[in-house]
Symmetry: C2
């Protein structure tokens, strides 16, 4: 109950609270707040109207529960925020998480990747977000995002389309449809996956709450993939949190002519993010050691590549159709006649050249 | 004259020649080749028809000269090939370079970047190659490429369009128009810039000559920029040479949905190439230490970003238009009333909020 109350009274990631309550258990904090300590005056206004029982009822009405440390569902990994980000503005472990949806939060976060990016993304970004999300879902990875327009929505939709698990971590109450036009999407996520927030029911989003929310997305997942982000954006803020939490940071490249990909390129160039070009890249960078090896695109070595140099030079000198005699091929190849003769015989044995009464020509044209 | 003759007799980067002639001066090699040493038989066929005087005349007729070590025009940096690539197939310093065009080869290579890439490039690749080449030219950088279709041609054309210096390094004689459809372009390059090859006049290109040519492009420049390349391509071969020569390797990203950008992404992911998104990136990665600082895109810090947290939280809680009284703003912000009152006064002093008889509202909507 103290944690429910604190979730209402204290702003997410409030550094003043972290400082004032350092080392105290939630119950002690809750008690102290009720003792009219003038040092704790900044929380008095909200404390006056806080009603944990009502918040729990309101949550239940919306199909939501409150998950706290020690619960079976609590995702321990968010406790990294105890140490991470002490120098930034929105730090700290949440007092608890409001969770709407059926799956067990801890279980679905066992293998989870965040996909974040621009609201005003391009159709390329939208396409790529949906494709990567589907691919991750096909590999049993839960896709976490922020429920916003653009990349977030495409990632959620791509996961749902692949019948995968997706989690929307909001900067408002889990019963609040923000943005409004995503309300059908958020309902679907709550039905098949989870909608999560550290803010109690009814809360509206604010700029600072978005920043605080980003730390949860980063901390709860094994890696954050940025797909399209302007050079100053929430997605880069999430990437910064992932860095601070020791999580993988990945960025999807795009055309250098697109302003929307500038943030991704900046992450790779200046913040050492891993370039992500496909699902395998993401799984490789975020999987526990040794669990996954990425098959990278490699063209097959062709037979002609593995030929000894003399044979290759001879082959280069053999005409495609009109036969040429050995001495002429030798001159073109820059080899002596015996070596050339020997090479031509070897090439013919390899089915690469053909001998005719007037000389040699290629059997099939070499691949360009 | 010995070097002219050797340029005709020995294939570019022939490892057998490197081995047989190790430590010998060109004149000694030339003499030895004429002594019918059976170990040197492989060069006998070409030696029989080699005619250095005729090659020089033929070059002169095509407006070309032969540049050798010690000449005022000789670009010393290609001598890195003495040490680089001993384990690969096409190594070694060329005996000399056939040069067609007016500028001094050494001078124009003082500040030079290679731009290479796919022949069958996309229009994105072509556009980017031309833009980056123009930009480099505007910065006084010579743009070096291979005279091929696609990225090469776009880089040459972009440089010429910016009235910059461009060099085509060919895998055939400098008097040979290959590919045929680029002959007008090659003539323009020879007129305004330089056409260079280690092969004597009249020589045709072969697959191995392309690979040998790539080592010259890499060695002669301060860095190689790959724009669009399949995962197995000449451009990646050039990048490999640049790596071996200790030159900068850069790759331009593109859509992950484009097969043409796969080679560029591979270079960044697996071979530590620098991600190149603009001219400044390229100049920064290839300039001598301390000569250049890249201005990277950064959005300006806004006033609201630098506000203390209490002010920012208060500002977040102030309605856009309909005024709200201090206690309501305090509750929304999660701050006590005196702190909120103080913050609102400060925000009004900063011209961010306005006080009305019924409360406070924003002066101008904050930037989203």
């Amino acid at each position: 109950m103290a944690r429910v109350g604190l979730s209402r009274v204290v702003e997410p990631g409030d550094l003043a609270a972290l400082k004032a309550f350092d080392g105290l258990e939630p119950l002690e904090i809750w008690d102290r707040l009720h003792h009219n300590d003038p040092d704790l005056d900044r929380w008095s206004t909200r404390l006056a109207t806080a009603d944990p029982h009502r918040d729990l009822e309101r949550a239940a009405a919306a199909g939501a529960r409150f998950v706290i440390p020690g619960d079976d569902e609590w995702p321990d990994q968010v406790e990294i925020l105890e140490d991470a980000g002490q120098l930034t503005r929105r730090a700290g472990v949440p007092f608890g998480l409001w969770v709407r949806g059926k799956p067990n939060l801890r279980t679905v976060l066992t293998r989870a990747i965040a996909i974040v990016g621009a609201r005003a993304c391009s159709s390329y970004g939208e396409h790529v977000a949906a494709e990567l999300a589907s691919g991750l879902a096909d590999n049993g990875v839960t896709v976490v995002s922020g429920g916003a327009f653009g990349i977030d929505a495409a990632a959620h939709r791509g996961t749902l389309a692949a019948a995968g698990l997706t989690i929307a971590v909001l900067a408002c109450g889990v019963d609040v449809s923000y943005p409004k036009r995503n309300s059908a999407l958020l309902s679907r996520i709550a039905e098949d996956g989870l909608v999560v927030s550290e803010l109690p029911p009814g809360c509206s989003p604010t700029k600072l709450r978005f920043l605080a929310r980003n730390r949860l997305i980063a901390a709860a997942t094994q890696g954050t993939v940025v797909i399209e982000a302007a050079v100053r954006s929430g997605a880069l803020n999430t990437a910064g949190w992932a860095e601070q939490c020791g999580r993988a940071v990945l960025a999807v490249p795009g055309p250098i002519t697109s302003r929307m990909s500038a943030g991704s390129h900046l992450l790779v160039r200046e913040r050492n993010a891993v370039l992500a070009t496909n699902v395998a890249d993401i799984i490789e960078a975020t999987a526990p050691f040794g669990t996954s090896l990425t098959p990278h695109p490699r063209a097959p070595e062709t037979l002609t590549d593995s030929l000894p140099t003399d044979l290759q030079r001879t082959l280069d000198a053999v005409p495609v159709r009109t036969p040429a005699p050995t001495p002429r091929i030798a001159a073109t190849a820059g080899l002596d006649v015996p070596t050339t003769q020997q090479s031509l015989e070897a090439l013919t044995a390899l089915n690469l050249t053909t001998q005719t009464p007037t000389g040699w020509h290629l059997k099939t044209p070499p691949t360009p």
